[in-house]
Amino acid sequence: MMPQARLEPLLLVLAPAAAALLVAAAAIILVLAKGSVDALAQGGAGFLASSEWSPSEEERGSYGVLAPLAGTLVVAGIASAIAAYLAVAVAVYLYEYAPRRAREAVELSLYSMAALPTIVFGMWGLSTAAPIIRQSGLTLLCARGSPTGQSFFTAGLVVGLMIAPYAAAIVSEAYRAVPFTYVEALHSLGARGFERARVLLGMVKGSVLAAALLSFGRAVGETTVVALTVGSAVNMPLCPFEPGHTVSSLIASQFGNAYLYPGMESVLLTAALVMVLGSSASTTLGLKLARAAVRKAQGGEA
């Protein structure tokens, strides 16, 4: 409802912008929905549960996306575990242990990492992280270990490092929101750093879960970094050091030529819709938890 009955002239100027946003949002929904309907109409929902990927230009090939869907879960899971761990460790270090100089250096590095374009992390993953994984011998643990070092784990590691600053910001915000009297009380009891951290982290544990969920949501949709580091093979993620695909990296490598293969485009759009739903659910829940965690910390409830 408009606050006043009078028509605001400014609203006439602002309305086209709002309309453009609504059109963009509707276009996204419509394109994904149409692709999904096409895919379901052509071959049922079997492709979501099949891991057979054999494109064909003449007839309808098999486009099972189970492996990339599972790969997305694994890569995003690894990334969000790494990001959440780093976030907690960094928050504890900054607020309980770090001397001023170290604190400033860490904060500067978090700021600059958050500002770097993702493609730069992709380049770094390809030129530094993948060779390290290859030389570490970890790939030998898997039956079909990656010969290049590009694997589910490599992608999860680079994405986890990349989104760690965001996760750290969420945990830090809740940590800072704990009333100072609690911190004071802990100090006056003679609590050491780890004891203070344990009590305070207990008070903000919702924010850690929120950071993990938001990281997961971001990692699910991450494309270029993953495409450069995951190894690009349709492969079930049974061992983390094997090359694979996620939905986004599969789209990045296949969608450009998908029109050559009947049926592939709609399958990729359906996989994209599944990815969007997963990412949105995780992000929405994470945002809710993050806000609740800050409120709870401010209230000082354990």
């Binding site: 709002a18 270090y93 990492m113 374009p117």
Partner: protein
Amino acid sequence: MRLHELKRAVLDKLFHAAAASASAALLAVSAHIIAASVVEGLPALLAAGPALFVEPPGLPGGELGGLGPVLAGTLVIVSLSVLMSALIGVPAGILLSEYGGSWLARSAGAALQMISEIPSVVVGLVVFTLLVLPMRTPSALAAAVSLCITALPYVAAQTRESLAAIPLTYREAAFSLGLPRWKAVLMLLVPMNARGVATAVLLGAARSLGETAPVLFTAGAAFTAFYGLTGPSSTLSLLIFYFAPSPYENWRRLAWAAVLLLVALTAALSLAVRRLSRGVRM
């Protein structure tokens, strides 16, 4: 008792070590990324010389060449995207902040929330389906539209936040003078907040410059020449995506040169954002 104290001391040291090493790891990674882009990128930049800004990339495995057409594409695509995202995002931010209760603002807010949660590669897919297919060619225009959609939530959110940060007293003063709301917004709140709006536009620029996934299928990866607004084009980040994994030495060196340029441009933009957002006068 003694044992208990010892245990506490040891546990504390372990916690300290774990927390410090995680922070050190992040510090090391960010330092290494920046160092690597300088160490690998600077020689390529110097080797190419001024030709870097003019010449197209060399043939696979041949001469180094330059990034001329890619820089032209980047300039056109990013400027267009910034322009569009400012034209839509700033009014949307004003709408959200000043008319927050209206149904128009609420539906625009919901649309923005949805767009911000969509992975950027999906934006590329949608623009591909709706713009590239009907035009029968990827284009600078389609790339700019994709980037604009990805940047929009940032521009709108920053505009809204900066307007919302203006103290209530200024609004009260304006309304008590009998100014209608639109006059208060246009003549007082937006000019007072020029820095906030500039920050929003710069954030949009940083976003447009850095994103790769939205232009994967929309720009067209035309690295050798610039074909105008409706022809295939490319951006720096797209060149990195294609050249980084290539087996050709000269292409990988160009990718590093592009990485260094991107890092430098992003650093400049984020410094500007920091400067602008620090000195807000109220």
